[in-house]
Symmetry: C2
Subunit: 331 residues, 2 copies
């Protein structure tokens, strides 16, 4: 069932059939009707590979996220997929386990498929480089790591972290543990900056020993958090992402530490469990699904006009105060 089959069936040539189905170019109404009817009747499905080969571009947008099991990435992907589908584009989703090598492999795959663009939560600059060099539009979401100018959708990490930290400082905390990721990602850097800025604002010195940087794949993250608790006796913890918040929460529970009486906890990136546990977790919330949607829109806009200047959308996160934060003990 190819275009020529269809054309023969309707008594036209393949070119006319092509025009009728794509809506580009002139086709007489009767011919067009016969073609459309035949396509319907025969269940004609155009061959996407042939079309992509000819047009040198497909409608498949590449998406790379670290790990779908993390709700943050899953929601991002959900937003992207939704916006893409509305515009009749498809999402090819690849995971990268936060590994530069896998990200690069994904980029190569997208190049091979003539993807018109790629959306990713980058773990390195190499993949973006490769794609942009080959003329593929890239949108970075959540983090910005590219060496070259490119569209991005991020949130104001510094402002979010500053709000969270200020909240703790105002409650009277003076020893706040910062649980971060051991990377050079802009997310983490921004959150660290906000943490320090809030301390500066309040004229409270930061004890460097309270800064913990956990490896992305660290199997002993909870042990590390436990040691921080034991060694440095922070009265509050600021976990810079939802996974670290979950791990911190586990450690606190295991050690029987009551929140907020004995210790306070603030997270970054609101996920459902944080509102369900008792006490609820105070958190810097970000519009994750919306970020995905916007990234897709940015990409589509660029597909329309490739020469538009790179735009970086910076969304504002929101501090949601719940029961996990309160005054430090004996304060």
């Amino acid at each position: 069932m190819t275009l020529s089959d269809l054309a023969r069936e309707a008594g036209t040539s393949a070119s006319t059939a092509s025009r009728a189905l794509s809506g580009r170019g002139y086709v007489s109404p009767p011919a067009r009707d016969r073609l459309l009817a035949a396509a319907e009747r025969l269940g004609y499905v155009p061959n996407a590979s042939a079309r992509a080969l000819k047009q040198r571009t497909s409608r498949v947008v590449g998406v790379v996220v670290s790990d779908l099991r993390n709700q943050f990435y899953a929601r991002l992907a959900a937003g992207i997929e939704q916006a893409l589908r509305e515009a009749d584009f498809q999402m090819m989703l690849l995971g990268d386990n936060s590994e530069g090598a896998e990200e690069l492999a994904a980029a190569r795959t997208f190049l091979a498929m003539n993807a018109p663009g790629v959306i990713m939560t980058p773990v390195g600059a190499a993949a973006t480089d490769l794609l942009v060099r080959h003329g593929v539009a890239v949108v970075e979401v959540d983090r910005q790591l590219a060496d070259v100018p490119c569209d991005a959708v991020v949130i104001d990490n510094e402002a979010g972290a500053r709000a969270a930290t200020t909240h703790l400082l105002e409650l009277g905390h003076r020893r706040i543990g910062l649980l971060g990721v051991d990377t050079e990602w802009t997310t983490d850097a921004g959150r660290r900056r906000g943490f320090h800025a809030a301390h500066d604002d309040a004229d409270v010195p930061v004890d460097e020993r309270l800064l913990l940087r956990v490896g992305v794949h660290a199997a002993d993250a909870e042990d590390q958090i436990g040691r921080l608790l034991y060694d440095e006796a922070p009265t509050a913890l600021f976990a810079a992402n939802n996974l670290l918040a979950e791990q911190a929460w586990n450690v606190l529970r295991r050690n029987g530490l009551r929140m907020p009486a004995e210790i306070s906890l603030v997270g970054f990136d609101d996920v459902p469990w944080m509102a369900m546990v008792d006490p609820g977790i105070t958190v810097v919330a970000q519009p994750t699904v919306e970020m995905g949607r916007r990234a897709a829109q940015l990409l589509l806009a660029r597909a329309e006009s490739p020469e538009r200047p790179a735009t970086v959308e910076i969304l504002t996160p929101q501090l949601v105060v719940r029961g996990s934060t309160g005054a430090p003990p004996t304060a």
Copy 2:
């Protein structure tokens, strides 16, 4: 940068280059080395569309799930993606919002791309029909709705529901509310069957008024659950999926009902929050990521040998008893 460019660079013809890169057919070692080196040096990326067009099949497996925001589907997708990537296949992920029409559109898209196979959590039989009719292998995960024989990975819903219900019955509950989905899906049907079977085993009659079937997109699910609580005064609730469990939990909390003293709750499909809330939610756990992985493996196996008979893998779920279940009040 096409194959011919590469061939010219290495002083061979395109055919030889093709053989060298694909590993099929004879190529003299020196020629092969020159070709491989040139490919490396020039960063040659083969054009997937051209290859798919020629071979009439691609390495892109279609995956359709209802909604990535639900952790169940996200984890399924994570398992599928992982297994696929290990075998050097890619995942094209489309959502369908549990709508037959969108599922069908997704199927057409996969047809257009020459997908070697499709994995889905089906919402109807039409999409599978279409695909199978066109010779595309289909694996159903979680639910079985196809009219035609096809591979599937499911869990033993009846056994799981029976275990959960028996657990409640043994605790002394006699009025158990069943929160199900208003569909003809095998998941729900199996869970209902298990619910009834457990009652039969225990010789306890089922009061039909305790059976609530909520529409998949119902905006007022929580109201409906609230009414069931008020009208029928069940002493326990069995929520047939993670979303219903979450909604039931919200209603119980909002109404200030303590678990398990005033009411017991059992869920189906373990998700992280269930172990984090207090009391933890007793639940029938299923190996979600593993189900995804197996579905992918089944698909790959069929790609190898298209004539193998359809196999249905039935995994066993596991009842995880936590604090949300106990004896009924005044019992």
